[in-house]
């Protein structure tokens, strides 16, 4: 474990939807609340929460990782039959381009401020190494330095193939091993080394979506989070959490930002190390690679 810390809490954010587009109308109808439509006005976008996240983490003295997605565009890159399907819109609608000026500026601001910028592999990239390589290059071109790791979109993994692709591309870690409807240490308390080498898997402990009734019963959700933190402290665990940036919008997802802050504060009280996976990875010692016949000979 890093220094004298008893456990680690790794903070991550998947940048899926920084702009509230068609969701504004959907939420307005679902919640019968026209306030959601304000996000359609210029200069107002409740899903753009990055300033708030940076403030929260800065005040708590921590940093996290933001994984950026270079997803296919529904209308330019997907077949017309998908334009009218729910899955088409869910997977490929309302995304963003990593080359958007606001995204470029955001990536530079995060990087300059000490946050980690990583790769959020697109939906089809888990089995398509060429696509994944292209996405990695796209983000690294903006970042102007190599990416260390990331997470696959929708936690979509083909084990161990996807991790082989990651390692072949030079990625050092992945955080996709987990669930969007369950939380806990089902995948163990430690990092994993699927190839017994320097490539590391950080099992995902909590995705905010999986927590029960956060909007209506924050104390109930908090009890679950605190229980997991104590379990992590008792077992010297590496706990990794995922909070999507849009969940910091109080209008759209009440209580999630507060819960996130509480988790960090409690982890610090319990003596945990808190930070991005890339920084944790940098502190790790790795197994010696096996000596090959060529080296011996």
């Amino acid at each position: 474990m890093i220094d004298d810390h008893s456990f680690a809490l790794c903070l991550t954010h998947d940048v899926d939807r920084p702009y509230k587009t068609y969701h504004a109308a959907y939420y307005a109808l679902r919640d019968r609340d026209p306030e959601h439509l304000r996000s359609l006005l210029p200069g107002t976008n409740s899903f753009w929460t990055f300033d708030r996240i940076m403030e929260i983490e800065d005040e708590l003295g921590v940093r996290s990782a933001f994984y950026f997605l270079s997803e296919q565009d529904l209308f330019r890159e997907r077949p017309p039959r998908e334009w009218v399907t729910k899955d088409g819109w869910r997977l490929f609608g309302g995304r963003y381009s990593v080359d958007d000026r606001r995204i470029v500026d955001l990536i530079h601001e995060l990087d300059a401020g000490g946050w980690e910028v990583g790769l959020h592999g697109s939906y089809e990239s888990s089995t398509d190494p060429d696509r994944l390589a292209d996405e990695k290059r796209t983000i690294e071109r903006v970042l102007d330095e190599p990416i260390v790791g990331g997470r696959q979109h929708y936690l979509k993994l083909s084990i161990p193939k996807t991790w082989h692709h990651h390692a072949d591309l030079g990625l050092k870690y992945d955080t996709s091993l987990g669930s969007s409807d369950d939380y806990g240490f089902q995948n163990g308390y430690s990092i994993q080394r699927p190839f017994d080498d320097e490539f590391v898997v950080f099992p995902l402990t909590i995705m905010e979506l999986a927590l029960p009734n956060v909007e209506t019963d924050i104390e109930g959700a908090w009890e679950e989070c605190e229980r997991l933190l104590e379990e992590a402290a008792d077992n010297g665990a590496v706990m990794t959490i995922l909070w999507h940036p849009r969940f910091f919008s109080e209008l759209d997802f009440p209580n999630y930002a507060e819960l996130y802050g509480r988790i960090i504060e409690r982890a610090q009280e319990l003596g945990g190390w808190v930070g991005p996976p890339g920084e944790y990875y940098a502190h790790l010692d790795h197994p010696e690679p096996p000596i090959t016949a060529k080296q011996m000979g």
């Binding site: 300033d51 940076m54 500026d105 530079h108 601001e109 300059a112 401020g113 000490g114």
Partner: protein
């Protein structure tokens, strides 16, 4: 003939300062130095829009070994992290061009909360020790008034504010607001505070160059908005048109009862 308020005119202005023996110092250096040079120029840039123009000016200055001060607004149009870091890398001072009292609609406490957040954003990118207010002629507030109460720059670890902390009796102030160096009604909020009683006036950059070449003033502060200076004739024409329209509004504001 070289057009006024063009990149070439700006380079000529800098060269005139250097040739006349002025030392160029930043606002930070002015506020932190125990002894100041006998003859100096402080070039202060307010980056209100067109941040790439600021970078162009920064390069022009760096080529001449000149360090100046860039005050950048915290709006998406100008808060460009990579550019801000480039300004600092080129050897210039970067400060926060604040307008928090405007954005908080006059609520001083809300303005300080906003100021604190924005200053921290800047400081994650660069070393900010001085600030300067942004004057929007269309708002009823003067952003400098957020310092009238209990709050001080020192609370934020700042050396000072470019309008409020300089001695304008000693340092003569020239501003390009309204695309003229002459003081008048076009400079709605761009005026110094205190007793600075200006003895000289110039209109064009060429007149300012003559003034500096003759070293008629020993110490001066030049406010230069990069967006007002153009790299091409088309940009100059567009900017002049925009300024003419803005000036009509400003004259109108002066005529209000």
């Amino acid at each position: 003939m070289t057009a006024d308020f063009s990149d070439e005119a700006y380079a000529s202005l800098l060269d005139a300062g250097l040739n006349a023996g002025y030392e160029f110092i930043t606002v930070r250096e002015y506020l932190s130095s125990e002894t100041l040079p006998e003859q100096f120029l402080i070039v202060r840039h307010d980056v209100d829009r067109k941040p790439m123009n600021a970078l162009q000016m920064a390069r022009t200055e760096a080529l001449r070994g000149i360090s100046t001060t860039y005050y950048v607004r915290a709006i998406p149009k100008t808060f460009r992290p990579e550019l801000i870091q480039q300004l600092e890398t080129l050897g210039h001072e970067v400060g926060y061009h604040y307008e928090d009292l405007d954005t908080a609609d006059g609520d001083v406490e809300a303005a300080h909360d906003s100021f604190d957040r924005n200053l921290r954003r800047f400081r994650r990118l660069c070393d900010v020790e001085t600030i300067c207010m942004h004057g929007n002629p269309l708002t009823p507030h003067d952003n400098r008034e957020m310092w009238a109460g209990d709050h001080s720059y020192a609370d934020y670890g700042l050396l000072g504010e470019a309008y409020l902390s300089m001695d304008f009796e000693d340092v003569t102030y020239f501003s390009d607001t309204g695309r003229t160096w002459e003081d008048g009604p076009l400079k709605v909020k761009d005026h110094t505070m205190g007793e600075g009683d200006k003895q000289v006036q110039v209109d064009t950059t060429w007149e300012l160059i003559d003034l500096l070449s003759a070293t008629d003033v020993d110490r001066a502060c030049l406010l230069i908005h990069p967006n007002r200076w153009a790299g091409s004739y088309a940009e100059l024409l567009a900017e002049r048109t925009k300024d003419a329209a803005t000036n009509v509004v400003k004259y109108g504001l002066q005529l209000r009862p």
